[in-house]
Amino acid sequence: MDHNKQHETSHKPIKRNEMTRRQFLSYTLGGATAFMAGGAIIPMLRFAVDPLLQKKAETAFVKAIEEKDVTKEPKSIDFKVHQVDGWYESDPKLQAFVAKDDSGKIFALSPVCKHLGCTISWSGDEAPNLYHCPCHGARYTKDGKNLKVAPKPLDEYQVKVENGWVYLGPLESNTRV
């Protein structure tokens, strides 16, 4: 013990939680190891979660059908959207049921059943004037209101009418029921 320390402790014995050499060395070694492991692992984790953090592409409105062809009876139409999927770009076809309501407003419903995601169709012998799903018998009204089996109404495409053409945009929750 050196002179100063002896002097100090003889006057007032301070209770200090002194770190042992072993503790200091294990913290230093552990810290350096964690730093190096982190340097290697963190970039990989950020790399892996990148799809979550990438900016989602805005869905553009797509020209789908002429306004004069839309009737009160829902009509199934196909339209193409441009899709960028990582390094792969494609123009997949989407389906929509387009109809006019009683006030003449045009709306478009998604054909994906809200029960478990099968594709529904309009009307027919077993469900006249209703949407029906072949998988578990879900039924929806013309507005997409869920009558049976399905827990939610059909999703709706955003619709824009310009120069006699109907444009379909991104999907949203049903606004009609």
Partner: protein, 223 residues
Amino acid sequence: MFKGMYNWIDERLDVTPMWRDIADHEVPEHVNPAHHFSAFVYCFGGLTFFITVIQILSGMFLTMYYVPDIINAYYSVDYLQHQVAFGVIVRGMHHWGASLVIVMMFLHTLRVFFTGSYKAPREMNWVVGMLIFFVMLGLGFTGYLLPWDNKAYFATKVGMEIAGSVPWIGGYIKELLAGGTIVGAQTLTRFFAIHVFFLPGVLLTLLAAHFFMIRKQGISGPL
């Protein structure tokens, strides 16, 4: 907290003797750089293993984006390198690590050679080490094709010609490696399978044998 968790597990499973047996052994003075600085040459084997671990990790993450297909392989590599965050770093680790692992392994081999550590009773470990060396070269060769760019394609063509120059059976080796008569779609999937499943499996088995033997026989004595 960790101590509490460790004790809880240890009371039930008695794990302490297990890791003690693996990790808790004295480093002989002649291989400890703290005693003789020149003993750093004994670190090359451990460094090779360290880089191998990084190769395995970065490779696992790369396969999240990579596809082994002649149409998409190049685009997926381009995408993961330039569009995905830290893609340059993760692919960089795998790219540079691949060369570094060969360098480190070579230095390790030189150390073993010049300290005479391959002599009895460690001849088997030398042989296993040589097998690891060839597996690593195989990993380098198969991995080189995967980006499916010009360099990869023509390097593999040259590699195929070398394989084809083996007397008598060269033609068969060449066709088996290429999965056909040309370097193409089937070569790429084949090399991918060899690169990520077959050779790593062999490598891990050989490494286990390598480490088991060095633990059992101990590090060779001072010069």
